[in-house]
Amino acid sequence: MTGNWWTLTRLVVQREIRERTQAKSFWIASVILLVAVAAGAIIPALLSGHRSTAQVGIVGGDTVALTQTALEAGRITETTVNVITVPDVASAKAQLLSGNLDAVLVGGTEVLVKQNAVFGSKGTLAGTLAQVGGFAKVYQALPPAVAASVARSGVGLPIHGLIPPPQGLASRFTGLAVAILIYVIIITFGMRITIGVGEEKSSRVVEVLLTTLRPVQLLAGKVIGMGALAMAQVAALAGCYLALGYALGSPAVQGAAIGVVAAAVVWLLLGYAFYCTAYAAAGSLITRQADAYNATIPLQVPLILGYVLAYTVLFSGGVSWFYHLLAFVPFTAPVAMPVLIAVGAAPLWEIVLSAAITIASTVVMVRFAATIYERAILRTGGRLKVRQVLASVS
């Protein structure tokens, strides 16, 4: 590996990047992904967003004070609040469930809502109602003993949802976005590698290139060039996601969701490293571009499996042992592990072990794929089978 080795390999990298960024399809795909990711940041913000008017019921206690509390909460959250006095808690619950009321302030004790907010109540009308109501209660209950008791139990009133909220949907939502992103990026850039290698082989330009390049240089240049583009795209997507998320105050960038995004970037890197040379080897087996899809099916199926089963994990509530198993298989780990992290089902040791397995398998895969590539890239004739190539001596 002399300086010259890298000089030539860098030329290949530069060509790959130049060629890809000159292609319209690259920019179209980038824009589509950006829009999807932007939607991923905006939708949770909208879901937790403020409605312009709200019906707030009040039950018991000092009607004037409670009305004042409700109107103040509305002012803070920029919501027009209509206050409705409800005779008792039972009818208040009935009206919440029927949708006539958006929230009910029960005289100095609690706030009732139909369902707790998906991304937490901070900043919502109900949350503000609970805070303002809590302060009002402390203010009224000025005697020190009571104040101390209130301080112990917290200032904000408890918010009770009548039906159970879905668990940690923010990070689940991010988990799904991550599963889609990893799956889409690996497969699209992998296919580009396959098509690019197949094109070099079928156009026979590889004959000219390999008079001065070693096959491994051509292979390395291609996967590094494509990898650099993939990472640039991911950086742009993650940057867009975080910037929009923060700008809109979206819950999608708060708490655990950030960890999921970080895990996604790491697993995307690992997944790309594991798969990229395999896609190149697949390209070296074909002689026509039309064969590219068929040749890569074995490489797509595990990713599709990990992605499709992610829905059951993310939305059925439970993680099966089978999905845990997928997180330790290098072919499926790049999708499965971030999904497990997103639902909080992966202890640290599982994450570390899965990463170690994927890295070790990548070393094996690179050697295996490079062997196939070197032997197949100059062979003419029809489409080759892996077994044929391995049986031959170059």
């Binding site: 010259n4 030539l8 030329l11 060509r15 130049r18 060629e19 094109e199 070099e200 156009s203 026979r204 330009v205 590889v206 004959e207 000219v208 290139l209 390999l210 008079t211 001065t212 390049l213 100059l378 003419t380 170059s394």
Partner: protein, 318 residues
């Protein structure tokens, strides 16, 4: 052994594909500064040998030396190669492609930029420099392909069937460049299966068949070697009757009565001339040189075309 002057030496090249012997102990040398033809019918093993020289095909045994040394990475960057099936990125622009190939052969960015334009202009495709290769006609693509082989100023040129698919103007342009490169001192090996078409271009040739060397040397010497033949025409004897005494050694061209006589000995020519002059006024008399296809036929016992058809029938390729 080994010469430092640019000589290319092939020694004992052998390559088999299963049962098929593509190269069978092939040895010859290519001196620098000559247009050297590597000839033989389709399937004779030319492409296999050329791919082995540039390092994209492996050999079962044998060595390729250039300047007295095996061809390593350093030497490779000074080789210009034009593969038989051609090879360019279809969607890459002409200049960009030539620059890229020049840089892969070790040229700096500025030199590669200039060389790409120089060679595109020299080969008449300079005005198409910003077009994608796939947008060019096949003839122009072939010019770009030659430019790609020459752009880094190689000292060894290996060109596989450079004339196939070219129109007469293209053939002239290609011939001109090959002669110029040879005159500049480059070592050059180009292949063709059309022996008679290229014989006037070559100073020397190696002719192979079935992976074996059939003939090797200067074209002028090969043409003179072998049986001596004279061509004689006697005025007023359109049937060439004067030559009947010669039997099967004399072949009569029925259109104008020219008789081609195969002799055992150069000295017999005088006897033939005497007999012809006795029969009537001699309009034409001269020694007939062998064409390269005849050199081939004399060596293997059949014409190169037969071989090509036989190979095509079993679907083989070189």
């Amino acid at each position: 052994m080994g010469s430092q002057d640019g000589t290319l030496e092939l020694t004992g090249l052998r390559r088999t594909y299963g049962e098929v012997v593509a190269l069978d102990d092939l040895s010859f040398t290519v001196p620098p500064g000559q247009v050297f033809g590597f000839l033989g019918p389709n399937g004779a093993g030319k492409t296999t040998a050329m791919r082995a020289i540039v390092g994209v095909a492996s050999l079962d045994s044998g060595t390729v030396r250039w300047n007295g040394e095996p061809i390593g990475p350093q030497a490779r960057s000074r080789i210009g190669y034009m593969p038989e099936e051609r090879g360019l990125y279809p969607a890459m622009r002409v200049f960009e492609q030539l620059e890229y190939l020049a840089r892969l052969h070790g040229m700096g960015a500025a030199a590669a930029h200039d060389a790409a334009r120089h060679w595109a202009d020299r080969l008449g495709v300079g005005s198409r420099g910003e077009d994608k290769v796939e947008a060019l006609s096949l003839g122009n693509q072939q010019r770009v392909q030659l430019a790609a082989a020459l752009v880094h100023d190689p000292k060894l040129l290996v060109l596989d069937e450079p004339f196939s698919g070219l129109d007469p103007v293209g053939v002239d342009a290609m011939s001109g460049v090959l002669a110029e490169r040879a005159a500049a001192g480059a070592t050059m090996l180009f292949s063709s299966h059309q022996l008679d078409l290229v014989e006037h271009l070559c100073q020397s040739v190696a002719i192979i068949d079935h992976g074996r060397l059939v003939a090797h040397g200067a074209v002028a010497e090969l043409a003179r070697a072998g049986k001596v033949r004279v061509s004689v025409r006697v005025a007023g004897d359109a049937a060439g009757r004067w030559a009947e005494y010669l039997g099967p050694a004399a072949q009569v061209d029925s259109t104008d009565g020219t008789v081609v006589v195969t002799l055992h000995d150069r000295a017999d020519a005088q006897n033939v001339l005497d007999r012809a002059m006795a029969a009537g006024p001699v309009e034409q008399f001269g020694f007939v040189h062998r064409r390269l296809s005849e050199v081939f036929r004399d060596a293997v016992g059949h014409a190169p075309q037969d071989e090509a058809q036989a190979v095509a029938a079993v679907g083989g390729s070189s």
